[in-house]
């Protein structure tokens, strides 16, 4: 017998001992970060960066595969008892010795997760993690000259890059409303003092929003630089137009944070993606009825919200609970009770 079959045999026996639970259900009690567990991390510290931003130090579980500078990680945080997932750029360098990683979060108005992380997260808390991902990363071959163009929390993936690899010639243009809003300001200024970085801060409260044409004056050789840009859509749109207008579009790398804004309306177009049907629905008809009307095979039971026999994944859009008026937005893993939910804008039901 090979050791692999031995191990799987032993595991089978363990499963028989713990049925109907799994051995991992018990192991999770004592060692949630062990190898082989679902990927999680433990918050070890929260360091304020500005009035509304903080860096969260996380010790990821043993299954963490590591990241490339510039990548982001999806993290599942329990806010008021409910698990919500968001993506944040990793701001720690890849060679951090203690195995911890950091994300830096800016609290956005009404942002449930960001406000929770910045203001209420406590060391010791477990969070769920996905493996890092994203292709807003540096190339293998070192470019001679680099430009980082960032605004607001768009600085976070770039900070991961800055901390990771030193280039000979790096310029950064960063926009923030006021000096005190510049995340990592001290560290940036230390780099400037050490002559490792040339930095231009644009303070939009006084200077106004950056006019992309000003780059000619701020960074005269911008077109020769390999550029990584991250910030609000307006800035990135302008940059893309500017770069391609000058025929150097391939030098520009952009990262757009998920827009994530679902406008909840009253009724809308409902797509049953598995069946391939799309119908118009009003804001008062349960999606169960809408689906059945359209000839989609819908699971159902009590039809009054008590048996949970109708729950179905919501893949996109938003729905309204007809009893409480509560809006549920699509997120990976979100299930809705179709018998008491109606379309709140266009949505996609996995049926």
């Amino acid at each position: 017998m090979t050791s692999a079959t031995l191990r799987s045999g032993a595991w089978k026996l363990l499963e028989m001992i713990t049925t109907p639970l799994l051995p991992s259900d018990y192991l999770d009690l004592v060692s949630p970060l062990r190898a082989g567990a679902d990927l999680r991390g433990r918050i070890e510290a929260v360091h304020p960066e500005t009035g509304d931003a903080a860096t969260i130090v996380i010790r990821p579980g043993r299954g963490w595969r590591g990241h490339t500078a510039g990548q982001y990680v999806r993290i599942g945080v329990d806010v008021d008892g409910r698990r919500l997932w968001r993506a944040y750029s990793i701001t720690s360098p890849t060679n951090r010795q203690d195995g911890r990683v950091t994300i830096t979060v800016k609290a956005i108005p009404d942002g449930k997760v960001s406000n929770h992380l910045v203001r209420r997260a406590k060391p010791g808390t477990l969070v769920q993690l996905d493996q890092p991902t994203g292709d807003f990363v540096l190339p293998k071959a070192k470019p001679a000259k680099v430009l980082y163009l960032t605004a607001g929390s768009g600085i976070t993936p770039v900070m991961g890059m800055l901390r990771d690899i030193e280039f000979d010639d790096v310029v950064m243009v960063h926009c923030a409303p006021q000096p005190q809003d510049v995340i990592f300001r001290n560290e940036l200024h230390d780099l400037v003092a050490a002559e490792k970085l040339r930095l231009t801060e644009v303070h939009t409260d006084t200077d106004g929003v950056l006019d992309i044409a000003r780059l000619d004056e701020l960074v005269p050789d911008w077109a020769e630089r390999e550029t990584w840009a991250c910030g609000p859509a307006g800035l990135l749109d302008a940059a893309e137009e500017f770069w391609s207008g000058h025929g150097v579009g391939e030098r520009l790398h952009t990262e757009r944070f998920r827009p994530g804004i679902v406008v909840a309306g009253d009724g809308g177009e409902v797509t049953f993606s598995a069946t391939g049907k799309t119908v118009e629905a009003d804001g008062a008809t349960p999606l169960l009825d809408v689906g059945e009307e359209a000839g989609v095979l819908m699971p159902s039971g009590c039809r009054m919200g008590i048996c949970f026999g109708c729950i179905t994944p919501l893949k996109a859009g938003a729905v309204r609970d007809l009893r409480t008026g509560e809006i549920t937005e699509a997120e990976p893993g979100v299930l809705i009770q179709t018998c008491v939910s109606a379309a709140a804008g266009p949505c996609d039901i996995e049926r």
């Binding site: 028989m16 049925t19 109907p20 639970l21 008892g81 008590i306 026999g309 009893r323």
Partner: protein
């Protein structure tokens, strides 16, 4: 179907107003569900797992009598927690709002021979929708008992105290058989129905796994304590079965609880639905420990009104619900466990004997009951 309708004094408007007031109670809990509730269920789950682990550990030395006692008691409590406060409530979707895939009605499996999905169908859907409607709610007597004077008596019913006792001892098997609608499906050609066969297979698999675990593997692991561990797990299962059977009997069987006719639920309004849940359920009074060990089914009335609210909130909801019972002059059936269990058993005995034929006011009733 008692002669006097205890809700006769309510007007249609009052019933709808009652419905609105209950909706408001529900909304309040939904709006305030949060971190504390999530922490509660996580704590209970982790406590259950630790208790089971420790008890099974102690039972490895069960040839030593104090260890046997301690281990058996611990395992009994752990199994009761698994079935009642955790399993029943998670499978109701009470914790789905947390969006934790590990504590979710779609993924939970319990230490019970009836697979979760089958139980969810017969319990959440059939029983909770058609609560106490004769012929539609099979929980009424589980198809083997006569629970109302108006049901036709059959000599078979003479044995019902015995059936009920056996059902209590092997309750989880009774439930599995019941979820399979075994009585109906073993008849004639239904046995061959592929859908039924698939479900029966799933139950078979579940039984095999549970039996193997409790009666083979754990005793074997105990080595010289094989027999005593076997006796311990058997006892724990027996205790759990009798306990849950008792609690569940108290929910709908005690005197004072109403049953309904099939016709009465046609076109039922939300208010009327609520009213039926109120009149068709009974509570158990007692300490917090009692509520916990019953999985808060001691708050059966509140559970039937709001089956998807987190169980840890029923106690506070009960205060408001009870006030509504008073306001609308309805009887809130409740009492300590021994009294309620006695009352339910008393009914089982009483109805095992034929009673004077009631004055039937509807010509089709007899047929309806026979069909049931």
């Amino acid at each position: 179907m008692t002669a006097i309708d205890p809700t006769a004094h309510l007007t249609a408007e009052q019933i709808e107003e009652l419905g609105r007031e209950l909706d408001a109670i529900r909304d309040e809990v939904i709006a305030s569900r949060g971190e504390k509730d999530a922490a509660y269920i996580r704590k209970v789950i982790s406590a259950q797992r630790r208790l089971e682990l420790v008890s099974r550990g102690v039972l490895l030395f069960s040839f030593f009598p104090p260890a046997w006692l301690l281990g058996t008691a611990g395992l009994s409590v752990a199994k009761i927690m698994d079935n009642m406060e955790i399993g029943h409530n998670v499978l109701h979707g009470q914790w789905d709002w947390m969006r934790d895939p590990k504590i979710h009605s779609t993924t939970w499996e319990w230490d019970h021979v009836s697979p979760s999905d089958q139980w969810k169908h017969s319990h959440n859907e059939l029983h909770h929708t058609h609560t106490n409607v004769i012929g539609k709610d099979n929980d009424l007597g589980y198809g083997i008992m006569r629970v109302d004077e108006d049901q036709k008596w059959h000599p078979f019913h003479l044995g019902q105290p015995l059936w009920n006792f056996l059902n209590a001892c092997f309750f989880e098997y009774g439930i599995a058989a019941y979820d399979l609608e075994l009585g109906k499906n073993l008849h004639k050609r239904r046995r061959k129905n592929p859908e039924f066969r698939a479900r029966a297979k799933a139950v078979g698999r579940k039984i095999r796994k549970q039996v193997l675990k409790d009666y083979v593997i754990h005793p074997l692991l105990s080595g010289p304590s094989f027999l005593t561990t076997l006796a311990a797990t058997f006892t724990a299962n027996l205790v759990r079965n009798i306990w849950s059977h008792s609690v569940i009997m108290c929910g709908h069987f005690p005197e004072g609880v109403q049953v309904f006719e099939r016709r009465s639920i046609k076109g039922e309004t939300r208010g009327q639905w609520y009213l039926r849940q109120m009149m068709g359920s009974a509570n158990i009074s007692g300490s917090r420990a009692m509520h916990f060990m019953t999985g808060n089914l001691s708050h059966q009335i509140e559970h039937h009104l709001f089956p998807d609210l987190p169980s840890n909130r029923y106690a506070e909801v009960a205060v408001k619900v009870r006030a509504l019972f008073e306001k609308y002059e309805l009887e809130y059936v409740t009492g300590p466990l021994p009294k309620q269990v006695f009352s339910a058993w008393h009914k089982v005995f009483r109805l095992s004997l034929p009673n004077k034929k009631p004055k039937v006011d509807a010509p089709d009733r007899e047929q309806e009951l026979v069909a049931a």
